[in-house]
């Protein structure tokens, strides 16, 4: 069975540094994969490459059977990949409602949106998502008035609205309280029931909470991959990532 996302031999160089080095990586449909690795391992760069921000020096990226290497970000989005940034990125002056509305799956081209009106079902879907991310009370407030945690969830809501096949989440719990992180992890687990998710994380507690299969990157290459228990007990992983000593 072909994987949903398949990365082969991906190499990329930025400012002379080789960040990804002949990386092979794949995700199956409906997986919730966690991507781990020390700083500089290339996790964010991998996401940048998949979403079309950088062009690789060598290698290819295949998604749902199509070669998307070198595509523009908006085309890759149309193919079904959505990305969440580390720092919450939303539209500050727009209301929370509008943030979701603009991200709804649907037509994106200029003339298509020109005469588009919000349909009843779309409206219902927006409210559904707002309830899901617990922001329904704040629907008409500008997005900038939200707290940090709420912003992270808003961006998650926007991604859900876009209904992608593959969700790339880059450290979505950055800056949250413990409680927030726990709730976010739950949210992600719920999302993963219906979408394929690649989650980049640092926080081990969250990984333990929801991690199924884990890939560990190190210096631009795959260091280990497998079910959580296996990877967490891998000697090399522990040495590289956690330092010598017991895994807590």
């Amino acid at each position: 069975m072909a994987s949903l996302l398949e990365v082969k031999g991906l190499t990329t160089r930025v400012s002379g540094f080789t960040i990804l080095n002949n990386l092979d990586f794949s995700i199956e449909e409906n997986e919730l994969r966690v991507l781990l690795g020390p700083n500089g391992a290339g996790k964010t760069t991998l996401i940048c490459m998949i979403t079309g921000q950088f062009k690789p020096v060598a290698g290819s990226i295949n998604f749902a059977g199509r070669d998307i290497t070198g595509w523009a970000p908006d085309d890759i989005f149309q193919a079904g990949i959505s990305r969440k940034f580390q720092v919450p990125n939303m539209y500050e002056t727009l209301s929370v409602f509008d943030n979701i509305m603009v991200s709804l799956q649907g037509r994106r081209r200029v003339f298509a949106t020109l005469f588009q009106r919000l349909s009843g079902e779309e409206r219902d879907r927006i409210w559904e998502i707002l309830e899901f991310v617990e922001l329904a009370d704040k629907a008409s407030d500008p997005a900038d008035s939200l707290s940090h945690g709420q912003r992270q969830w808003l961006e998650l809501g926007m991604l859900i609205a876009s209904n992608p096949k593959l969700l790339l989440l880059d450290e979505p719990t950055t800056g949250m309280t413990e409680e927030g992180k726990r709730k976010t992890a739950e949210l992600i687990r719920k999302i993963a029931k219906t979408h394929t998710v690649l989650l980049v994380e640092h926080d081990m507690h969250i990984v333990r909470q929801i991690g199924q299969r884990i890939t560990v990157l190190h210096q631009g290459q795959m260091l280990a991959e497998g079910p959580m228990s296996e990877v967490m007990n891998n000697e090399t992983v522990r040495r590289v990532y956690l330092g010598k000593g017991k895994f807590q």
Binding site: Q53, F54, K55
Partner: protein, 290 residues
């Protein structure tokens, strides 16, 4: 025809020099402080008027240069403290505010000096010229301009890369917050940089005054040209100033010779737009990775 073009190529050196001299001040302000100074042309103009005053008082260009540096530098200080310091974070609005400053400068100078044109002569020792290839006389003053351009480039290089001040300036530019934490007085650096850039514009004015007559509207074309140099060559790089100036100066000279002035400028403009398409940040600017 080929000989004429080669002749034009050599005479183009002085055009390159003019562009470099004019653009250096802006390169500092724009490249380092990130301020879009639409009054750059007017600052050059003030420098030229300073040279005119110095001339009337019996001095010559050599005296006018440091005087203009100080005068326009002080003016820059006033502008920076009065207006610029509040809007560093809003580049497009700095553009508008400095355009207003430019209008003010033009009007004030006109009120003081009247609308007539002034003539500033080159220093006596530079009168006359020598013959380059063919029958083209190359005025000594143009030679002086080329030398000035090189000197100014070296001066700026030295200040930015070899002095403590320059080190601090580069640090602030890289990372303002950390520099502040490390004890660098960022406000002072901003002030100094802006004033220095304005001072350079003043020097440009003093040096360029003998070329054309001095009037209140002489500055604007220099400003536009300076921006084009930076856009093409790349912001924040001395090599950018040099390469931008060289390319534009030569292209304009040769194309203006083959066609006419206006078409020459149009072609250079199109040339710049095409280059920008390929290297959006200019030749020596930082480039997109995609």
């Amino acid at each position: 025809m080929l000989q004429s073009i080669i002749t034009q190529f050599f005479s183009g050196f002085s055009v390159v020099a003019i562009l470099v001299i004019a653009a250096l001040g802006l390169a500092i302000i724009f490249g380092v402080a990130g301020v879009i100074n639409m009054a750059h042309g007017e600052l050059i103009m003030v420098g030229a008027y300073t040279a005119a005053v110095v001339g009337k008082l019996g001095g010559n260009t050599f005296i006018a240069i440091p005087v203009a540096f100080v005068v326009v530098g002080l003016l820059g200080l006033i502008i920076e403290r009065g207006i610029i310091q509040w809007i560093y974070d809003r580049p497009l609005e700095t553009l508008l505010a400095t355009w207003g400053v430019g209008i003010l400068l033009q009007t004030i100078i006109k009120l003081i000096f009247g609308p007539e044109l002034y003539y500033v002569g080159a220093p006596k020792i530079f009168e006359g010229g020598f013959r380059v290839i063919g029958r083209l006389p190359f005025p000594y003053y143009r030679m002086f301009l080329i030398v000035m351009a090189i000197l100014l480039l070296l001066l700026v290089y030295y200040v930015i890369f070899r002095t403590n001040l320059g080190l601090k300036v580069r640090a602030v530019r890289r990372n303002r917050a950390i520099s502040g934490c490390l004890g660098i007085d960022t406000a002072r650096i901003d002030m100094t940089i802006f004033a220095f850039g304005c001072g350079l514009a003043g020097i440009a004015g003093a040096v360029l005054a003998p070329i054309k007559s001095v009037s209140t509207t002489m500055g604007f074309p220099y400003a536009v040209d300076s921006y084009m140099v930076l856009v093409l060559g790349g912001v924040g790089s001395l090599w950018g100033v040099l390469s931008g100036g060289a390319l534009i100066g030569e292209a304009e000279t040769i194309l203006s010779f083959i066609f006419n002035n206006v078409i020459g400028r149009l072609l250079v403009f199109l040339f710049i737009v095409i280059i920008i398409r390929i290297v959006p940040r200019g030749i020596f600017g930082y480039n997109e990775r995609r």
